[in-house]
């Protein structure tokens, strides 16, 4: 019934330059034999003397497979690298992969399977908020541990989830400050796909624009998911002549939106556009020529120029092919296994309660993350940087702005 996907299928490569430096005493990692399984696993998880089993739960089929492919690839890469370094507490990580099939109850069902039957020590997975919301009660009931990679709307904080993507205020606010200052923007047009993440993000953006920046929202528009006709919306935008178009259109609609924008003559020469839903993954479909000069706010861009990232990109391409692109979520997914490793080693145990406790100390940090330094906040979200990238024709972005490290605030006062 289950498959153990072997993540180690690619040849052993030049040793990873990437080494997780964790703020944990070396003594813990030094000798696995000194850590009997009975001590580090008191709750009956699937852990032997030399292996520990984790779950990966993403959509391999259905409409979301497009987006979730990168995340599961990154997770497998991280796990492979950790194993190459000797595993966690002397135990190699084994993976059980399940398909969420883009279907929310399936996520709940598979989560239950992973936790109840397979007794996995941690799960890396979910992509959409809906799938996380469906799986969440299962993780809370069965006391599992989920590392969730996507930037999302916030308004959630569960003991059993570590959020490795940004919550909405972290992603949005600094980008808006930047555009207000840099582009002297006063009027904004908000457009998004019609579901919870764009709506919540737009709500936060509107409050920030009106209350903090003193600007004006001249229009707010939502299109059904999957809709591909933007002619009327574009005319409406033309009528309103906003300084900035602020967009959160997703999936197939996203491609249609940018293609039609370009066809309507609205290009970066005339119009500033800031989006929170375009990563390198999306650009593949949209085409760099349609995006050239527009801005995305993300915490990570593949083009980021630092040693960590270079090593990461090289390793990713080696494992998954030269043509791979790496978007924000892919990078965030990559952080999951490393954060878990750090927390387990700090706790000296795989027990979920202890790992969570270690995670909540505020001392789990990664200095080697591709995006740069990140630290886990006691509220289960990451301290991270907001970046504004300008898209080039080749599908890569140039980072034009970087914020300070921002504290995560899933329940932002004044923005609800």
């Amino acid at each position: 019934m289950m498959t153990k996907h072997n993540p180690f299928r690619c040849a052993r490569t030049t040793l990873m330059t990437l080494v997780a430096s964790v703020s944990v005493s070396l003594a813990l990692t030094a000798n696995a034999a000194s850590l009997p399984t009975a001590e580090i696993n008191t709750t009956g998880l699937a852990i032997t003397d030399d292996t520990v089993t984790v779950g990966i739960l993403h959509s391999l089929t259905g409409t979301m497979a497009i987006s979730e492919t990168g995340a599961q690839e990154a997770e497998k890469l991280a796990i492979k690298q950790i194993n190459d370094m000797g595993g966690i507490l002397g135990r190699k990580i084994e993976i059980i992969q399940e398909d969420g099939a883009s279907d929310w109850p399936t996520f709940a069902e598979k989560s239950r399977k992973l936790l109840v039957r397979d007794k996995v020590a941690a799960v890396f997975g979910c992509w959409t908020s809906a799938s996380r919301k469906a799986a969440l009660p299962v993780f809370e009931k069965e006391n599992g541990l989920l590392y969730y990679p996507t930037f999302y709307e916030g308004l959630e904080q569960s003991k059993n989830v570590i959020y490795t993507g940004q919550e909405a205020t972290q992603q949005i606010l600094d980008g808006l400050n930047w555009v207000a200052k840099e582009k002297k923007a006063k009027t904004y047009y908000l457009i998004g796909s019609d579901y919870i993440w764009p709506r919540t993000s737009m709500k936060i953006a509107r409050k920030h624009i009106e209350n903090v920046l003193g600007g004006k929202v001249v229009g707010e528009q939502y299109k059904p998911l999957g809709d591909t006709q933007f002619g009327s919306v574009i005319n409406k935008i033309r009528l309103k002549k906003p300084d900035v178009i602020y967009a959160a259109v997703v999936g197939g609609s996203n491609v249609a939106w940018f293609k039609q924008l370009k066809a309507a003559g609205i290009t970066s020469k005339k119009q500033t556009l800031l989006t929170i839903s375009v990563t390198e993954d999306e650009v593949l479909g949209i085409g760099g020529e349609n995006l050239e000069g527009f801005y995305s706010i993300m915490k990570y861009f593949q083009s980021q120029d630092n040693e960590n990232n270079k090593a990461f990109v090289a390793a990713f391409k080696e494992m998954w092919g030269e043509d791979s692109v790496i978007g924000d979520v892919t990078q965030a997914a990559y952080l999951g296994p490393w954060l878990w490793k750090a927390a387990v080693e700090k706790a000296g145990s795989f027990d979920v309660d202890k790992v969570v406790e270690a995670s909540e100390t505020g001392e789990i940090e990664l200095t080697t993350a591709p995006e740069g330094y990140v630290k886990l906040h006691p509220n289960h979200h990451l301290w991270s940087v907001a970046r504004v990238g300008r898209w080039n024709k080749d599908g890569q972005a140039t980072v034009v702005y970087e914020s300070e490290l921002i504290e995560p605030d899933p329940f932002p006062a004044g923005y609800q």
Binding site: D194, Q221, G231, S232, R238, A256, K259, L284, G287
Partner: protein, 308 residues
């Protein structure tokens, strides 16, 4: 509405909004033409229609990629070539589907719905296995990008104009084929009275197969054309299928004129509503209105009263 705008500006918006409506009209019509033949003339409920469109789109993508790699000089012209190939690829797939599936089901229209739904699942998974799960877009020739500017304030999208012209050409071709050619006569004869047509020497099997293939081929053209406005993924087809059926049913299944009128009215309603209210609600209102009208006029807009 006039507050702060000049008449010139409003005029420009009006012109562009009018074009947006026309553009949507041509998109809907192009999607629906193939189905109008398959469903309207043959009575086959082809739930895989969207997947045949995707076949055309993927063909275009493939040709674009190959051209870019091996004949970069040919890039400005490949698109026209791609449309023709998309027609034949989707048509050939349709030919196969008719041969393997549809011909056994002419007497069970509701069962064609289930069988073609199965077919659509298989086609989706094939696309995923062949082209990957990610959405793709072909690199478009320069002349399809950007806009035409008759005045400073008016931008007419080139891709929209292209689809409009293409739709006009395909529509005229279909009309010529169905109503002026000898072959069209055979198709109409077969759909009206299969037994009698067979008796007067029409090879009805052949007519069926080519008609179905033609419908699918037109879907392929539509798919190729849509690569100019949207992307293509394994499940792209499912996005279009309900809209397509609505256009055909609302127009009165058996009437090609009805299909045109219905595409026109749906497109205008949708695009005008969308200008004033949110996109989601515009869609809801349009669909609710269609359902209500269909309840009062179940045979669609343009079905003639016939003696039964």
């Amino acid at each position: 509405m006039l507050g702060g705008y000049t008449y010139g500006e409003l005029g420009s918006i009006l012109a562009m909004q009018g074009f947006a409506g026309f553009s949507l009209f041509s998109v809907l019509l192009l999607m629906a033409l193939g189905l109008a033949i398959i469903f309207g003339q043959m009575g086959v409920i082809n739930m895989a229609h969207g997947e045949f469109m995707a076949a055309g789109a993927y063909t275009t993508y493939l040709i674009a990629t190959l051209t870019e790699q091996y004949f970069p000089a040919f890039m400005p012209y490949y698109f026209v070539f791609a449309i023709v190939v998309a027609f034949f690829v989707a048509g050939a797939l349709g030919y196969l589907a008719e041969f393997a599936l549809i011909r056994h089901l002419y007497k069970r229209p509701l069962d064609t719905l289930l069988a073609t739904w199965g077919l659509s699942l298989i086609m989706q998974q094939s696309y995923r296995s062949i082209f990957g799960a990610r959405e793709v877009s072909p690199t478009l020739p320069e002349w399809l990008l950007g806009s035409y500017q008759p005045t400073d304030t008016i931008d007419i999208p080139l891709n929209g104009m292209f689809v409009l012209v293409l739709t006009a050409v395909v529509t005229f071709a279909v009309f010529y084929l169905m109503f002026k050619s000898r072959w069209g006569l055979r198709v109409r004869a077969t759909t009206q009275n299969r037994v009698m047509s067979g008796a007067v020497g029409i090879n009805t099997n052949k007519v069926d197969r080519y008609t179905f293939a033609l419908g699918c081929g037109i879907a392929g053209i539509a798919g190729a054309a849509f690569t100019t406005i949207a992307s293509t993924g394994p499940t792209t087809g499912t996005l279009y299928i309900v809209d397509t059926f609505m256009v055909v049913v609302f127009g009165g299944a058996a009437s090609l004129f009805g299909t045109i009128a219905s595409a026109f009215s749906i497109a205008q309603a949708q695009s005008i509503l969308e200008f004033f209210i949110s996109g989601s609600m515009a869609k809801v209102y349009t669909l609710v209105t269609l359902v209500l009208i269909l309840m009062f006029k179940p045979e669609g807009l343009f079905a003639s009263k016939v003696r039964r």
